[in-house]
Symmetry: C2
DNA sequence: GATTGTGAAAGTATTCACAGCT
DNA sequence: AGCTGTGAATACTTTCACAATC
């Protein structure tokens, strides 16, 4: 789903479904939390609850990785953390460059979840000469002119684009020409890339529009039920309750060229 | 997919698939660009290319909305813009609050794609008293104490959580208690919400992990083919080429409780 | 007795391919 | 002749439900 690549014809078991891959990071986060609390084992039921999925799905997902559980007991937390990390490729160091150091780029540079997952911000790059040398999150910003050199010297294969939409395609081309083969795009554009390069996009605007769609539905249903809906006052229930049945990851680059998030269109 | 709501048993045509809903914003963006260039009509082929999907999928998607095209001709751009906007609920005003005004919150507040899509930042809210009154993107930051009042006074039904993970659940509960029924969560936590409340999440960390997974695969394939892979120097092709087969939207909250994006875990 | 791992069933989504309209 | 709209075919995902195992 996420790319132009078809992922191996799979002679044998090597065919983890995309939907499963997209959930592995969720499981990993939940497991990491358990690990920090020194919990030795979890059942599929408990872990599923912590990750916000149902247990059958979780077991099926894990079954693609191998048989890492013990019947009647559950899963060993540390062991699973290791196996999932390995499967995701997080046991190695991934140098990442962030291009575009506006508010969003700065937010990403400051993101703490990086280092703990094997990602390292190798460089921050911005087109504004005034930013050059200024440290953001302890990392000095470098000028776009240095892009190719940085990518090659650091062996960067993952690039993050947090520029305005107008600059994104050009930045993308330079990244790819320099050797980057995976791109996370926050700019609201569909990027064209050569075969073999993966692109994922994050788009705030799209998320909000999807929420608006469902919000509208709710209002319609209430109205149809004969209720007057006074804007936001229609909610009555207690603030906390069951876990939402399914919080989808705003992550899947399902279709092509999603609307990215944080810059002016 | 994105929520705990099941979307209407659908007596008649009223059952637009989630996958289609998630793509409507893409089409809308592409159509808006065409509209700005005063292009009167598009074929499914052209529009699909601009949105980064294939044309059969696009036609199928549109078929759920109705028959808005003309055989032998294509689709009227303005008319489609209107129909999709209406379907997504963008013809009305959606006041939104952003809770947590760090780099990410500021980036969101500055996002230009808001107003043009019917979204209006009704308030910025932060727990830090030092921020209170300071304008961000022209909007004065208000203290968390005001949250309930703001939501009720402005009739806010959509809330954006851009706080650190530790604060997210509590903020969520207060938003929901005050009347918010849709939440876009950027904090890396699974939120528990009552039935009837939609949650979508955006998570940078998850996106990077999925890219790492595929990146690892590529490296493995090259290695298997007997090639030595010198870090990032393995790319040879031209920088631009065909559009990536499918850039999935990092948007779908597909599974439950995805990992959000931009704060320290 | 508890809990995994997994075939088989059910539900969704995508793609094909062409009849039908302009 | 060109292009949409859509049934039918295919592919993927989730859920069920239970035999296998500890």
């Amino acid at each position: 789903m996420a790319t132009g690549r078809t992922h191996r014809p799979a002679t044998r078991s090597r065919g983890i479904p995309e939907a499963t891959v997209a959930r592995l990071p969720l499981y990993l986060r939940a497991l990491t939390a358990l690990s920090e609390r020194s919990v030795p084992t979890v059942s599929s039921e408990e872990l599923a609850a912590a990750a916000g999925v149902n247990s059958a799905k979780l077991r099926k997902d894990f079954s693609y990785l191998g048989s890492y559980g013990t019947r009647g007991v559950g899963y060993d937390v540390e062991y699973l953390v290791y196996q999932i990390s390995r499967e995701l490729g997080l046991t190695q160091d991934w140098p990442v460059v962030i291009v575009g150091v506006g508010n969003l780029g700065a937010a990403l540079a400051n993101y703490g979840g990086f280092a703990s997952r094997g990602f390292r911000v190798a460089a921050l790059i911005d087109a504004d000469p005034a930013m050059a040398g200024k440290p953001v999150a302890g990392i000095p910003v470098q000028h776009t002119d240095e892009l190719e050199k940085i990518v090659q010297d650091e062996g960067v294969s993952i690039g993050v684009i947090a520029t305005p939409a107008g600059a994104a395609q050009q930045v993308c081309e330079r990244l790819v020409a320099a050797g980057v083969t995976s791109i996370l795009n926050f700019a609201p554009t569909v990027l064209s890339v050569p075969d073999g390069v993966d692109v994922r996009k994050v788009d705030l605007s799209i998320e909000l529009q999807i929420l608006a769609f469902h919000e509208q539905r709710k209002a319609g249903e209430l109205a149809a039920a004969g209720t007057v809906v006074p804007a936001a006052a229609s909610h009555q229930g207690p603030a906390v309750a069951r876990r939402a049945a399914d919080q989808e990851p705003v992550t899947d680059q399902g279709p092509d060229g999603d609307v990215p998030a944080v810059m002016p269109t």
